[in-house]
């Protein structure tokens, strides 16, 4: 892995008609990286991916790949592969012909073509399905055909649109392993788009969280999971108790509240339910709801500063609905947020 960016988006602005979808986006990606574009629908992640593929004209800014400016290079000359969310297999062609499609356009013929297609199919474990039509395959198999179809083209970058979203839980795990294996074996640079944080965390080397056409945070899965820098990212990765900080105090609907420990300097603090101390502490709340989740138990507390979610190990004694509890939001455990919006 080299440190110089292999694919870089520079001041990229994308629009549908007059509606700007992505504004002034900068994103360098190293060769061989596996990057996730994570965000809710409408955040611009798919738009960005389509622009990298060349399916969407760039309004301003640049896309550079492997040292060349490809901003105006048409999609069919970019050497960028894309595995569509729907797989987009050609329904009238067999699995074999689907995989051979791009190679034939490159002018490949005869045994060279055949060998390449066969090895592509073998690598995704579908060599015995060569003569089937896409409609005769399961969703997971179709996706592997789509993967093989893109990979035989030896793209410089492989894009994947919500690669795991259409699969059931078991296949999801299988596909995740498959993608990691392919990436490891070929060293291809992969970018995938997802709205599912678990998918991004499990698969990516680096996660780019997007919101409203802008990058909210870039970091390793650990960074994103443990150290969100904004309330948006914190919320997105499961910090359910988030408060702004003013003058070193927590700002709530019932005024500024002192926290235990040294006064924080961040713009906000975020706690996962598990980070809330239950049964002791300076604050009091009433149990409004409770749910049992196997090895843990979750409580929803009514407090003077709004609802708080807390989670404790199931081995702890249970609290009944309506019971009054003391709790604490320990500042030292919280994730400090530099931006609150």
């Amino acid at each position: 892995m080299s440190d110089a960016p292999y694919l870089s988006l520079e001041k990229l602005t994308l629009a549908y008609g007059d509606t700007v979808a992505v504004a002034n986006l900068d994103l360098p990606i190293r060769k061989g990286e596996l990057v996730a574009l994570l965000g809710p629908s409408g955040c611009g992640k798919t738009t960005t991916m389509r622009a990298i593929a060349g399916l969407l004209p760039v309004k301003s800014g640049h896309v550079r790949l492997d040292g060349a400016d490809i901003t105006r290079v048409p999609a069919n000359k970019r050497a960028v592969g894309l595995v569509f969310q729907s797989y987009a297999l050609f329904p009238h062609l067999s699995v074999y012909e689907n995989v051979a499609f791009g190679l034939k356009l490159k002018g490949m013929r005869g045994t060279g073509l055949d060998a390449k297609v066969r090895s592509g199919l073998t690598s995704v474990g579908l060599s015995s399905f060569a003569n089937r039509k896409p409609a005769e395959l399961s969703g997971g198999q179709q996706q592997r055909v789509a993967l093989a179809r893109s990979m035989v083209m030896e793209p410089k970058v492989l894009l994947l649109d919500e690669p795991l979203s259409n699969l059931d839980a078991r296949l999801r795990l299988e596909m995740r392993t498959e993608l990691q294996r392919v990436q490891k074996e070929t060293g291809v640079t992969m970018i995938f788009v997802t709205h599912d944080q678990a998918e991004a965390l499990a698969l990516a080397d680096r996660i780019v969280v997007m919101k409203n056409g802008k990058i909210e945070q870039i970091g390793s899965p650990e960074d994103i999971y443990n150290r969100p820098t904004s309330s948006f990212v914190a919320d997105f990765v499961g910090f359910e108790n988030i408060f702004p900080i003013e003058q070193g105090k927590m700002k709530t609907s019932s005024g500024l509240i002192d926290l235990s420990g040294p006064a924080p300097s961040a713009a906000g603090l975020a706690w996962r339910p598990r980070m809330v101390t239950l049964g002791s502490g300076p604050f009091r709340g009433t149990v409004r709801g409770t749910s049992f989740a196997g090895d843990s138990r979750e409580y929803l507390l009514d407090t003077p500063f709004g609802p708080i979610k807390a989670e404790v190990e199931a081995s702890q004694p249970a609290h009944a609905l309506g019971s009054d509890l003391s709790f604490d939001l320990p500042a030292e455990k919280a994730a400090p947020l530099s931006r609150f919006a």
Binding site: Y16, G17, L56, P57
Partner: protein, 280 residues
């Protein structure tokens, strides 16, 4: 959705231009003839003249009346036939639908001519009536509104049945049993459940049948003749016999307005329903 406007226009414009040049423009000029004042300017006097003539009024009302009757009768028969067909086994259903569609593939000329043989004084209808003793002397059916009605009904009933079949098939399967369980009799089931749920199909079929009846030429010409003129046959007569293009333009305009009125009705009901669907 592709964004390239120039490409989109290059693809769509030839067809639009063709339809505009070959079709819209000539028709528009033709229609404007009816509003042109011979001494210059515009006038609706051709229309007042047209409706001042009792023959024209008769023909206009007859066209409207026959169109409406054909539409209503085809709706009644259409519901019965469509209901019977959708409740058949899948295989039989396909075959029956095929039989309904079959007449549409046959030249209307042939279909209309068959009625001359059937409805004539020596035709099978009269033979049957005399055999059962319903009438002593053969009835005269040809060259009457009845003959035109029968011909039009046979021509357009398939369109109604097909529209209603697809409407009935799109109806939630449990609606009728649910209504029955709630105590509705068959009349109530039809009126309160089936009719509202298949309204869209009824309107589509109704518009097709009504518009078709307005604009059919051969059937009124052959089965009605000059005794049962309809707007379309009157138009032909105005042009080919009287050389009266202004009158032809007036009739054309009336026909188009009637078709559009039916069509707008269809679109209104259809879009009112479409709004309930979740957009993709």
């Amino acid at each position: 959705m592709f964004q390239n406007r120039a490409e989109a226009l290059a693809l769509a414009l030839p067809a639009a231009f063709f339809a505009a040049a070959v079709f819209l423009m000539p028709v528009a000029i033709l229609l404007s003839d009816g509003f042109r004042n011979p001494v210059g300017g515009w006038t609706i006097s051709a229309y007042t003249d047209f409706f001042a003539d009792p023959l024209n009024r008769t023909v206009f009302l007859r066209t409207l009346r026959l169109g409406a009757i054909v539409t209503v009768v085809s709706a009644v028969l259409g519901y019965a036939a469509a209901f019977a067909i959708v409740n058949l086994e899948p295989g039989t259903k396909g075959k029956m639908t095929g039989l309904v569609v079959l007449p549409l593939m046959i030249s209307p000329v042939a279909r209309t001519y068959a009625w001359i043989v059937i409805l004539g004084r020596t035709g099978i209808v009269n033979q049957a009536l005399q055999l059962v003793g319903l009438t002593d002397a053969p009835l005269r059916i040809l060259f009457s509104e009845t003959a035109v009605f029968v011909g039009l009904l046979q021509l357009f009933l398939p369109l109604m049945i097909i529209s209603l079949i697809s409407a009935l098939e799109n109806m939630p399967k449990d609606a009728v049993p649910a209504a029955r369980v709630l105590g509705a009799n068959w009349f109530q089931v039809f009126w309160k459940v089936i009719l509202p749920l298949t309204k869209e199909g009824l309107v589509i079929g109704g518009t097709l049948v009504f518009t078709g009846s307005l604009t059919a030429y051969i059937t009124p010409a052959i089965l009605g003749g000059s005794k049962v003129l309809m707007l379309e046959t009157l138009l032909y007569q105005q042009v080919s016999v009287s050389n009266n293009f202004v009158s032809a333009s007036v009739i054309a305009f009336i026909l188009i307005v009637m078709s559009f009125a039916a069509n707008i009705l269809l679109k209104r009901v259809a879009t009112a329903r479409n709004k309930q669907r979740v957009p993709q």
